[in-house]
């Protein structure tokens, strides 16, 4: 077997879970892009891992965004419609030849035209087909060139797709108002001003606000609390039907799905994982069952690395798979890892530091099922549309909602809604942020 073949074979052996037909990742065959473009392959596999951890975000909403994307893509020079994956962390970003779109931003958008504008910016990037390695190697000033050009090009795409281009600067201002300015993008004010000029004089049209409202009706309004939230002195993963009792006032940090806390010299990381990553963990950790207050849990130490670190930077499919494997499954050799299998997946807790094993056992005994009150508290408010009885601003109409403050956050408070129009309320008061 050639060396190349050996590498592929090794990667297959390491990653395949009962596969008989070529390389797989997280138990599934590789996407077609892995035959043609490693960068796209990398992006798609990363997205697969991410989605396994957090689950499909909102399939109905994803289909709606896919339709808007198709409309904008047809107005572009792209020969295909990018696939859309809803995520919770992004605004919008090209993932290989596809698009990741943030769920939370969709809920905050004022109209379908705004959504189309943000998608048009990303599609303009895809049109220019500057590959990620080239883009990543560019100086920040050059990247700003591509960003500003994508903004301006987006105005034309939005217009051709049948939306009012005037919504482009509105979308930029709304979507980026809380973002931190970076070297890679022009300053927000500059972007908005240039976008206004790029959009000026272009055809108007319906902004399809009602269509967006219908699509987000019932969607989670803010952060999805079921993925981890603090309720008093407990941390609750409602999606995994699991709670962790904390010492009174014990601090925790949350970064996306990862929860981190410190106890003495040991740092703990906990994250809900999906079934595919859970399956893979068995190959990287020597688990042994243990009885805890919650019932049977698995605790173990990481198996030694199958590969030395020198093998990291090799560019091929096999190397990519090894690298992805490392991102998810390589732990500190001294770490102690617990997996608590729950409906829909598991929660993984990693302890690092001196006496991690003993510390972890103590914390495992703090796990329990959530109470009814905790389940209720971690039920995320969802969008509920309410008809305006009179023409008024969102701020004025927000008093019709169960949580007026939330309603004002979900839309532009100064927006005038005509009588009979709908405003974004929530179905319950927000108790946790």
């Amino acid at each position: 077997m050639s060396r190349r073949g050996e590498i592929v074979a090794a990667a297959v052996a390491a990653l395949a879970t009962g596969c008989a037909s070529g390389p797989r990742y997280l138990g599934e065959p590789l996407p077609a892009a892995c035959r043609t473009d490693m960068m796209v392959c990398d992006a798609e596999l990363q997205m697969r891992a991410q989605l396994d951890g957090i689950g499909r975000v909102d399939p109905a909403l994803e289909r709606y965004v896919q339709a808007v994307t198709a409309r904008v893509a047809r107005a572009s020079t792209l020969g295909r419609v990018p696939r859309v994956l809803l995520t919770r962390t992004l605004l919008a970003s090209a993932i290989g030849e596809d698009l990741g779109v943030g769920r939370m931003w969709l809920v905050l958008a004022g109209s379908e035209a705004e959504v189309a504008a943000v998608l048009a910016h990303e599609i303009a990037h895809l049109e220019s087909r500057v590959g990620r390695p080239i883009y990543a190697g560019m100086p920040a000033a050059l990247r700003r060139d591509f960003e500003s050009a994508a903004d301006e090009r987006a105005a034309a795409l939005v217009e051709r797709a049948g939306y009012p281009a005037s919504q482009l600067p509105v979308a930029l201002a709304r979507s980026l108002q809380d973002s931190i300015e970076d070297e890679e993008h022009p300053p927000l004010r500059t972007r908005v001003v240039r976008a206004r000029l790029a959009a000026a004089g272009r055809a108007g049209g319906d902004d399809h606000r009602e269509a967006l409202l219908s699509a987000i009706d019932g969607a989670i309004a803010f952060r999805d609390l079921s993925r981890g939230a603090r309720v008093g002195d407990a941390w609750v993963w409602a999606m995994r039907d699991l709670a962790l009792d904390l010492p009174p006032g014990h601090p925790l940090e949350q970064d996306v799905d990862m929860t981190r806390w410190i106890d003495g010299a040991v740092t703990y990381y906990a994250t809900p994982v999906g079934p595919r990553i859970r399956r893979e963990l068995d190959r990287f950790v020597a688990f042994a069952p243990r009885q805890a207050r919650i019932g049977r849990v698995l605790v173990g130490a990481p198996l030694p690395l199958a590969r030395p670190p020198e093998l990291e930077d090799r560019g091929s499919l096999a190397r990519l798979l090894v690298e992805l494997e490392r991102r998810h499954f390589v732990f500190d050799p001294e770490a102690e890892i617990a997996v608590i299998d729950r409906p829909g997946g598991a929660v993984m807790i990693t302890a690092q530091g001196p006496s991690a094993a003993a510390g972890l056992v103590r914390w495992l005994d703090r796990l329990r099922a959530p109470t009814a009150a905790e389940r209720e508290a971690t039920t995320s408010p969802r969008i509920r549309l309410v008809r305006a009885p009179r023409t008024a601003t969102v701020a004025q109409l927000s008093t019709l909602c169960v949580d007026p403050e939330a309603a004002r956050e979900l839309d532009d408070p100064a927006r005038v809604v005509p009588a009979g129009g709908r405003i974004k309320c929530t179905d319950r008061k927000r108790t946790l942020k």
Binding site: R3, V8, R35, T77, V130, R153, R194, G201, L303, P304
Partner: protein
């Protein structure tokens, strides 16, 4: 002077008088006057403004661009005293944002007070991108400039990126020159692409290698780059050559290196020959095996698993597999840490295996 004449000529061709620049009601995006010549970048603060400093501003007018485009970007406000430095800062901001290529700030005294006027020539949009000398599909970064605002410097920089991409894809002699032209209300980006031939790989020679090198090794596993007969991809060459080094390291040549590849281009046949020299260095064997910690039983098991490796070449895959196998045999409560260290005075690697109870 020549520029001024050109400027007037453009204005005349479009049938617009040079002053006023535009009526205040001109629709944004469709300026009533022709934009300036491409190399114009004019910012004029009327000298008379300085004599009016401190006088209250009754009106602020923005001409040539819908004022809403600027949003609340102007710091000068009606009702406040005229501050020439703030006017200058506002004009500079408008220029820095890049929405106007000509900016003139001046004042008019009217019956109801002083009017401050920002007279702007808006940047036109790029109505067309004309690619000469190549299929436009080969330079998508340039064609995607259609409908953007005129920005000649940006177009040149993006043209350079397009050229780099072409060269990396095997058009080694590709040259892209980009120019932005203004024709009355619209701009055009003209790119001339001298594509030149696309080069294939004619030969790959690897010298000095301690292990057999097949040319096919340079293929990407599932692609078609950098193999003999395939298109030359300079962006992928170095990472692929590193694979040769890694092959050596994996098999015990721990200090293997590769020289930068020597490329010979056969212009007549449009082929690239790649020559790369490997310097394998010494091949290391496994020397001393130290086992620390653990119980007598686990140490004996480690000894029996790892001892056969003694004296063999340090093939990392074999070494790792043995340790992995050992960890499977031991109690899950035993943490293994394996370290290896090359001796400075011999081509030998000593291995230390530490076993700890968790």
């Amino acid at each position: 002077m020549v520029r001024a004449l050109l400027f007037l000529a453009v204005l005349a061709a479009c049938g617009r008088p040079p002053r006023p620049l535009a009526p205040a009601s001109a629709p944004a995006g469709r300026p009533a006057r022709c934009p300036p010549a491409p190399d114009d970048d004019v910012l004029v603060i009327e000298p008379a403004l300085t004599t009016l400093g401190g006088e209250p501003i009754a009106h602020i007018e923005v001409r040539g661009i819908d004022r809403a485009v600027l949003g609340d970007g102007l710091t000068t406000k009606a009702g406040e005293p005229l501050d020439v430095e703030r006017v200058r800062a506002d004009a500079s901001w408008i220029r820095s944002v890049g929405v106007a290529s000509q900016i003139e700030a001046r004042a008019e005294r009217r019956d109801d007070g002083l009017a401050l006027i920002y007279d702007l020539a808006p940047q036109p949009r790029v109505a067309r991108v004309v690619i000469e000398g190549a299929d436009p599909a080969l330079v998508p970064a340039l064609t995607a400039l259609e409908d953007t605002l005129r920005d000649p410097a940006r177009a040149v920089r993006i043209g350079e990126v397009a050229q780099r991409v072409l060269q990396m894809e095997g058009y080694l002699r590709a040259q892209v020159t980009t120019e932005t032209r203004v024709a009355c209300h619209d701009a055009e980006v003209h790119a001339t692409v001298a594509l030149g031939p696309r080069y294939r790989i004619g030969r790959i020679d690897v010298t000095g290698s301690a292990i057999p090198i097949a040319m096919t090794r340079f293929e990407r596993e599932l692609g078609a780059a950098n193999r003999v007969g395939g298109w030359f991809r300079s962006d992928l060459l170095v990472p692929e050559l590193q694979l040769v080094v890694q092959n050596h390291v994996d098999q015990g040549w721990l200090k293997a290196q590769i020289d930068p590849p020597d490329l010979q281009v056969d212009e007549a046949r449009q082929l690239v020959s790649i020559a790369a020299n490997v310097r394998p260095g010494p091949r290391y064997r496994i020397g001393e095996l130290r086992i620390e910690g653990g119980t007598a039983g686990s140490r004996a098991r480690a000894e029996s698993t790892l001892r056969p490796l003694h004296g063999q070449f340090f093939a990392q895959r074999t070494y790792q597999r043995a340790i992995h196998q050992l960890s499977r045999q031991l109690d899950a409560r035993v943490a293994l840490e394996a370290q290896w260290q090359a001796r400075p005075d011999a081509d030998i690697v000593d291995v230390t295996l530490t076993m700890r109870a968790r």
